[in-house]
Symmetry: C2
Subunit: 232 residues, 2 copies
Amino acid sequence: MRLENLPEIRKFKLFKTMSEENFDAVMQAAYLQNFPAQVRLVTEGDEADFLFLVVEGCVELFATANGREATMAMIKPVGSFILAAVIKDARYLMSGRTTEKSRILMIPAKNIRDSFEKDSAFALAVVTELADCYRSVIKEYKNLKLRTAVERLANRLLEYHCEQGETGVIELPYDKKRLAALLGMTPENLSRAFVTLKPYGVTVSGSSITLSDMKGLITLAKPNLLIDRHAG
Amino acid sequence: MRLENLPEIRKFKLFKTMSEENFDAVMQAAYLQNFPAQVRLVTEGDEADFLFLVVEGCVELFATANGREATMAMIKPVGSFILAAVIKDARYLMSGRTTEKSRILMIPAKNIRDSFEKDSAFALAVVTELADCYRSVIKEYKNLKLRTAVERLANRLLEYHCEQGETGVIELPYDKKRLAALLGMTPENLSRAFVTLKPYGVTVSGSSITLSDMKGLITLAKPNLLIDRHAG
DNA sequence: CGACGATTTGAATAGGATCAATGGGAGTGG
DNA sequence: CCACTCCCATTGATCCTATTCAAATCGTCG
């Protein structure tokens, strides 16, 4: 593959500790491709042929059943997806599609599994990454089961605020439709949740959100170290 | 520790491939203890000092926030819990309590992490176990997001039916209160869900359930390979 | 300007939760 | 063996959250 993005990939936590030799071998076999928005990269039920890395852009992971659809996660650079299926040599449990123009690195699953056996530093990185993924899903599950829609939104806003430098103004990272799906609600309900948060200093203007009463919002959201990335 | 249950522990997938030497060392440091029902073994937020194995009995994993409580999983013999926290040397995201008289093996986290580094066969087993755990939570998450309460119950009944030998009669593995919590509903709602399933051949008599219209029940449940252990 | 998709708002509905009351065993003590 | 008690399960009534369906509005892009 071409090397323009190699340095950042090398810095990604999965590969940082990998031996030079294995890294080169893996990248030799990998494909770096550009995709437009709305391209389906993987479909649930398919065999795990590749590990995916989002190098630029964004990928939405989602699942379907009974005619319903649920957004499971959004993957931003540099992040991997469906590592567990690759390691287990199993079928994907989720589908993935780009939500914007994206640059995606596809690594044949076999190369990952081979390196895993040859390179113990890489094996450790895989375990750590898997443990992180596991803990993230547990947190999402708790978020969904233990909070109302308004509380989930409030905490998500606090998270973005934290990520974006605590300036009092947030830019939503996706359109509201997708944000709603990610939070486990309908777009209509998200709209209403924003209205509910108005008394807590939340002002919406398109994709730009102003937070003018952090204290009040935090009181409502009750951020929790064991659920949220922000909090503390 | 005492050795009465050693053979079954040795057979547990986490330890099956471990070197004799490491297994002995790990078990040397472990404690096997009997607990009555309703004993809190771990509390979310605590540091991961031990990996736990359920040798006999049953442990309920649950989480709390905002005065609410959610059951995350039930662990039966032989099963481990909070492996991810142990590997990451992080805080537990879930609490665990026995639901019945149980025999629990407690392995100091440090021994697990040490063996993990020394024994590559064990490392592989850990990765596999973590990947399994991850995929299980994803399935639970899909189950919750993509199905109604009645559908979740129907599929759970089919799962138990499958596990228990497809005799047409199921014995519920826990009391209904806990089953309700596990399925993400209230006990009242579980009761009503059973009533809803009556036209599909589901007859309740205490903890014993009769299924007399498998075809109808399956049509309603729509079991899914990518969510359910049964199905197929 | 006009069209189309995204967002918001409104009204009606559904799925579950909560609150309250009743029924039913299992275990205890007489 | 029976009465009593307590806890669990069921049932009924009501409330609440969130979904659905419908319509209006906003924004953007050609």
